[in-house]
C-alpha cells in the first residue's frame, strides 16, 4: 500500500489547490533530463483537460517574488492560453524541475525567470504547435490558416474553433515536434506587460485560503513545539518534564538527537504551554564565554595576518604612496536573522518505509533527501508537497536543513503526521544568520580623479564550508559569497589587493536575500563615495568617470535626471549607489531627512536594467520590496551575541521596517537594454544599503559605516 494523499487529507477543500498531481511526470532514467533532443517533457509542466482547463505545474517556490505568476506568464503567452483561467500547482520532486545544468530544485539567486523562462516557454510553444498541427489535420488545412488565442484554435478561413481541450486525444498520440520557434517580442501578448499577480493567487491571498506550510491539516495530525539550545553548540545534560507530562493534550515528550526537546500534543498551543514548563540543564561548552565584542576583536585581528588573497593585481602600495587622495574606512555588518513572516514549520508523517513531507522549501529535493536520511528510508519513498512560503529570504533554503531535521526527528517512528512549528523566538535565536562581517577598505585617487588602488579585507564566517555546497562555493579558504560584488566591482581601478578570511564558530550562517552583496555593495559604494568627496568631484560624476560599462553609466544618468541630482534641495541628504547582482544592475538616489535623533528616507529614485523585463509591474513591486526590506536592516535589525547566545528574541527587540519607515515615494524606471536576462528578487537590496549611508553623510558630514545605523 502506498501512501496516498487521500489518506491524510482532512479538509480537502483547503488542500485541493496545492496538492493535486494527477498526470504523468517523467522521472525515470534518461527521460529525467530536462531537454531531450532539445525538446522538453511538456506534460511535466502543463496539463490540458478535456473541459479546456489548463494547469501549469511549477517547480519554483512561490515566496512572494512572483515565481508562479511570472513563469505562468511565460508559458501562457507561448501557449496562447487564457490568462485568467489557467491554474497552477506546486511540482513534486522530480529532476525535470531542476535548475538547468544542476542536480537540484532550487529557488534562489533570483533565478526563476532568468534560468527557467526559456525552458518553460519552449513547453508552451511545443504544445501550441502540436495543437495547431492537430487542428490543421482535422480541418485539412495548412498551418498558416490556423491561429491561436485564449485557449482556442481558430481556422482563420472559416472561423471554426476548437477548444484546446477538444484536441487532447489528438496531441497525446503525436510525436513532439522539433521545429518549434519561440515568439519574437512583437508577438508577445503577456510577456513584457505589467500584469498583476495571477488572479487566482491573489484571491487566495486576500481571503485567507492560500495554503502555507503552517496551514497544512492532515488526518489525525498532531503538533510539536520545541526547546532549542540557546547557547550555540550547547548540549542537553538532563531535563525535568514532570509538569509537562501531566498537561492537557500532551502525547509525547522526547529528546531529539540534535540537542532539542520536543513536545507533541493534540494542538500546538498545548505543546507550547507544556514546553514552557520543562527545565533543561545545559552543558554550554566554551562558546558561552563569547560576545559580539569578542568576535569583533577576533575578526579585526585577521587584518594583521597573512590571510587569503582574493584579487591581487598592480602595486597598491606604490599607488597609495603616489596618490593625491587616499580614503579608508572600517565596516561592521551584524549577524542578521531573516525573520520570514511565517514562522518556520514542517510536517512529516513517517509510516515504516514510507513518508509524507509537506513544507514550504526553497530546495525541494535536498529537503526530501535530508528527511529520508533522518527517517532512514529511501528518498523515493517520500511523497513531497511544497506549499506557499510565507516569505523566506533564504531562510527556507537553509544549507543545514535545520527545520527539516527537527521535524523529521520529531515524527520519526511516531504514529501520527506531526507539524513541527517553531516560535518566532526559535527562529530569531536559532541562527542561520546572514554572517557578521568586519571589513576594511582603502582607495587611492590620482590628481585627475582616476582610481589607482583598491584594498579591502573582509572577514566573515563561510556560508558554504562544511555543507553540500562547499565543493562549488568554497575554494582556497574563501567563500564565493565573499567574492561577489567585491572582486568584480564595476570600476576602472589600476591596482587591487583584496583579501578574505573565514573564521569559524558554532553559529550557523546562511544566505540572506542578496547574500554577499549585502556586504560588498556597501563597502564598494561607500568607499567610492568617500574617494569622490576627497577628490572634490560630485559623487555621481566621479562614478560615471570611473565606470566602464555603458549600462551602469546609463542608469546613473537616469537616476540623476529623475532626482534632479544637480539641483538638490538644501537641508536634505542625497545619496547615490549602484550595484550589479544576480545579473541585474540597480541604481538609486535616495533623499534622507533628519528628524531629531532619527532619520527618514523620504524619497527613492531607482533605475533598473535586468536585460529584459518580463513583467515591469513585478519589477517595480520587487524594488519596493527591496527598499523597505533593506531599510529595516539599515535602521534597526541586529543580532548581538552575549554569553554565547543571541540577545534578541522577537519583533520587540529585533525590529524590522514598518509602514511608517516606508519612503513617501519610490519611483522606478526600467531600462530594457536587451542584454542577458537578470533576476529581480534580490538586486534591489545591495545598493540601497549604500545609498542611505551616503545620503546620511551628505546631511550630517559623518560616515556611518557600522550597521544598523545609530545617529548621534
Amino acid at each position: 500500500m502506498g501512501i496516498t494523499r487521500r489518506d491524510f487529507i482532512k479538509n480537502s477543500s483547503i488542500l485541493t489547490t496545492a496538492f493535486v498531481v494527477g498526470f504523468n511526470i517523467p522521472i525515470k532514467g534518461k527521460a529525467a533530463a530536462i531537454l531531450k533532443n532539445n525538446i522538453l517533457e511538456p506534460n511535466a509542466f502543463v496539463q490540458i483537460d478535456k473541459d479546456n482547463s489548463i494547469t501549469f505545474i511549477l517547480g519554483q517556490a512561490e515566496m512572494g517574488q512572483g515565481a508562479y505568476s511570472g513563469l505562468a506568464q511565460c508559458i501562457a503567452d507561448e501557449l496562447d492560453a487564457k490568462w485568467d483561467e489557467i491554474v497552477f500547482k506546486a511540482a513534486p520532486v522530480a529532476p525535470v524541475y531542476n535548475k538547468p545544468g544542476s542536480t537540484i530544485m532550487i529557488t534562489g539567486g533570483s533565478g526563476t525567470i532568468r534560468y527557467h523562462q526559456e525552458n518553460v516557454r519552449k513547453v508552451g510553444a511545443v504544445i501550441r504547435l502540436m495543437l495547431k498541427k492537430a487542428a490543421a489535420k482535422r480541418w485539412k488545412v495548412s498551418l498558416s490558416d490556423i491561429s491561436t488565442k485564449d485557449s482556442y484554435v481558430t481556422n482563420t478561413k472559416t472561423n471554426e474553433k476548437f477548444a484546446y481541450g477538444d484536441l487532447v486525444d489528438d496531441i497525446q498520440k503525436m510525436k513532439l515536434p522539433n521545429d518549434v520557434k519561440l515568439k519574437n517580442p512583437k508577438e508577445y501578448r503577456l510577456m513584457g506587460k505589467p500584469l498583476k499577480r495571477h488572479p487566482i493567487e491573489v484571491q487566495e491571498k486576500i481571503t485567507g485560503k492560500g495554503i502555507f506550510g503552517i496551514d497544512v491539516r492532515l488526518e489525525n495530525q498532531k503538533y510539536a513545539a520545541l526547546i532549542h539550545p540557546q547557547v550555540f553548540g550547547a548540549k542537553i545534560k538532563s531535563y525535568d518534564d514532570s509538569v509537562a507530562k501531566t498537561m492537557a493534550g500532551v502525547l509525547k515528550i522526547k529528546q531529539l538527537p540534535n540537542n532539542t526537546i520536543a513536545v507533541i500534543a493534540e494542538h500546538w498551543w498545548q505543546a507550547k504551554q507544556a514546553v514552557d514548563t520543562i527545565v533543561v540543564q545545559w552543558d554550554t561548552g566554551e562558546f558561552v564565554k563569547t560576545s559580539t565584542a569578542d568576535l569583533k576583536k577576533e575578526y579585526r585581528s585577521y587584518f594583521e595576518k597573512d590571510i587569503h588573497s582574493m584579487r591581487k593585481d598592480g602595486d597598491t602600495k606604490k599607488a597609495i604612496h603616489n596618490a593625491s587622495h587616499v580614503v579608508e574606512a572600517e565596516y561592521y555588518f551584524p549577524f542578521l536573522a531573516h525573520a520570514p513572516m511565517e514562522p518556520i514549520n514542517c510536517t512529516v508523517y513517517h509510516d515504516k518505509d514510507k513518508a509524507l513531507l509537506v513544507v514550504g522549501s526553497q530546495m525541494q529535493n535536498l529537503s526530501r533527501d535530508k528527511c529520508a536520511q533522518i527517517l532512514e528510508i529511501e528518498p523515493q519513498k517520500i511523497e513531497y508537497h511544497n506549499t506557499y512560503l510565507g516569505s523566506s529570504f533564504g531562510r527556507r533554503g537553509a544549507v543545514n536543513f535545520d527545520f527539516i531535521i527537527d521535524a523529521s526527528y520529531v515524527a520519526k517512528n511516531e504514529p501520527w503526521p506531526v507539524m513541527t512549528l517553531w516560535t518566532r523566538e526559535d527562529d530569531i535565536k536559532m541562527a542561520n544568520y546572514r554572517p557578521m562581517a568586519v571589513s576594511r577598505a582603502k582607495m587611492a585617487v590620482d590628481n585627475d580623479g582616476n582610481i589607482t588602488a583598491f584594498e579591502s579585507d573582509i572577514v566573515n564566517q563561510s556560508i558554504t564550508q562544511g555543507t553540500i555546497f562547499e565543493k562549488f562555493m568554497f575554494k582556497n579558504g574563501i567563500d564565493k559569497t565573499q567574492r561577489e560584488g567585491l572582486e568584480n566591482h564595476p570600476y576602472k581601478v589600476t591596482s587591487h589587493n583584496l583579501r578574505a578570511f573565514c573564521p569559524q564558530s558554532p553559529i550557523p550562517v546562511l544566505w540572506l536575500r542578496s547574500v554577499g552583496h549585502t556586504i560588498s555593495a556597501p563597502i564598494v559604494e561607500n568607499i567610492i563615495d568617500q574617494a569622490a568627496v576627497a577628490s572634490k568631484i560630485d559623487p555621481m560624476d566621479f562614478r560615471i568617470k570611473n565606470l566602464q560599462d555603458a549600462r551602469f553609466i546609463n542608469l546613473l544618468k537616469n537616476v540623476a535626471k529623475q532626482s534632479n541630482w544637480y539641483k538638490r534641495e538644501k537641508n536634505s541628504g542625497y545619496g547615490v549607489a549602484i550595484a550589479k547582482s544576480f545579473g541585474s544592475i540597480v541604481a538609486y538616489v535616495v533623499k534622507v531627512k533628519l528628524k531629531e535623533k532619527d532619520f527618514k528616507v523620504e524619497k527613492v529614485w531607482c533605475a533598473v536594467d535586468c536585460g529584459y523585463s518580463f513583467n515591469p509591474l513585478n519589477v517595480e513591486n520587487q524594488i519596493i520590496s527591496s527598499v523597505n526590506f533593506t531599510l529595516g536592516y539599515v535602521k534597526y535589525a541586529e543580532i548581538t551575541i552575549k554569553d554565547g547566545a543571541a540577545e534578541q528574541n522577537n519583533f520587540y527587540d529585533y525590529n524590522v521596517a514598518r509602514i511608517s519607515d516606508a519612503p513617501d515615494s519610490i519611483n522606478v524606471e526600467i531600462i530594457n537594454s536587451g542584454e542577458k536576462i537578470g533576476g529581480i528578487g534580490e538586486p534591489g537590496v545591495p545598493p540601497m544599503f549604500a545609498a542611505v549611508i551616503n545620503a546620511l553623510y551628505d546631511v550630517t558630514g559623518k560616515r556611518y559605516t557600522s550597521f544598523p545605523i545609530k545617529l548621534g
Binding site: 483547503i14 499577480r197 486576500i206 496551514d215 514562522p343 518566532r424 520590496s625 514598518r658
Partner: protein
C-alpha cells in the same frame, strides 16, 4: 454553554480551554487557518481579527474574553469594508508572499470602520503594528487610501 460568533455563525466551544488565545482557537480547533501566527506577542499583527468590529490581536486575546462576542476573520466574505479593501488590494497588486495580508486587511477594516476618511497619518498610525516582511507598505497605503474614498 460557551459560544462565540464567528463570521455571523454561532459556534459552540465546550472542549477548548478558556485560556486558549483566539488565534489558536481559530486555527487549531476550528480549522480557520486564514488568521496567521506571526510572533505570538502582539508585535506583528498577522493574527488580527475584529472583535465586535474592533481590530484585535488574536494571539493576545483569550477565548474567555470573547465569549458571546462577534468575531470577524479574513474568511468573511460579506463585510462591506473588507470587500472594498479587497478590491483595492487587487487593483494595487499589493500581495507578495501573502502571509501577512489577512492581518493587514483585517486591521485596515478595523481602521475604516472607526474612521472612514483617515488621513495619511491616521493610516500610518493604525497600520504600524502590522509587519509585512515583503515590504508592500507603499501599496498598502495606497489601497487603504483609495478604499476610503469608496466608502
Amino acid at each position: 454553554m460557551n459560544y462565540i460568533i464567528i463570521n455571523n455563525k454561532k459556534i459552540e466551544l465546550n472542549n477548548v480551554s478558556e485560556d486558549t488565545p483566539v488565534l489558536w482557537v481559530l486555527r487549531d480547533h476550528l480549522n480557520l487557518t486564514g488568521t496567521k501566527f506571526g510572533c505570538g506577542v502582539g508585535m506583528c499583527g498577522a493574527c488580527t481579527v475584529l472583535v465586535d468590529g474592533v481590530a484585535t490581536r488574536g494571539c493576545q486575546t483569550l477565548l474567555s474574553e470573547v465569549k458571546e462576542k462577534k468575531i470577524t476573520t479574513i474568511e468573511n466574505s460579506e463585510d462591506k469594508e473588507m470587500n472594498i479593501l479587497r478590491m483595492h488590494w487587487k487593483e494595487e497588486d499589493v500581495a507578495q508572499c501573502g502571509y501577512c495580508q489577512p492581518g493587514q486587511i483585517m486591521n485596515a477594516t478595523g481602521l475604516l470602520k472607526e474612521n472612514s476618511k483617515p488621513s495619511e497619518e491616521d493610516i500610518l498610525d493604525a497600520m504600524d503594528g502590522n509587519i509585512c516582511r515583503c515590504g508592500t507598505y507603499n501599496r498598502i497605503k495606497t489601497a487603504i487610501f483609495k478604499a476610503s474614498k469608496d466608502i
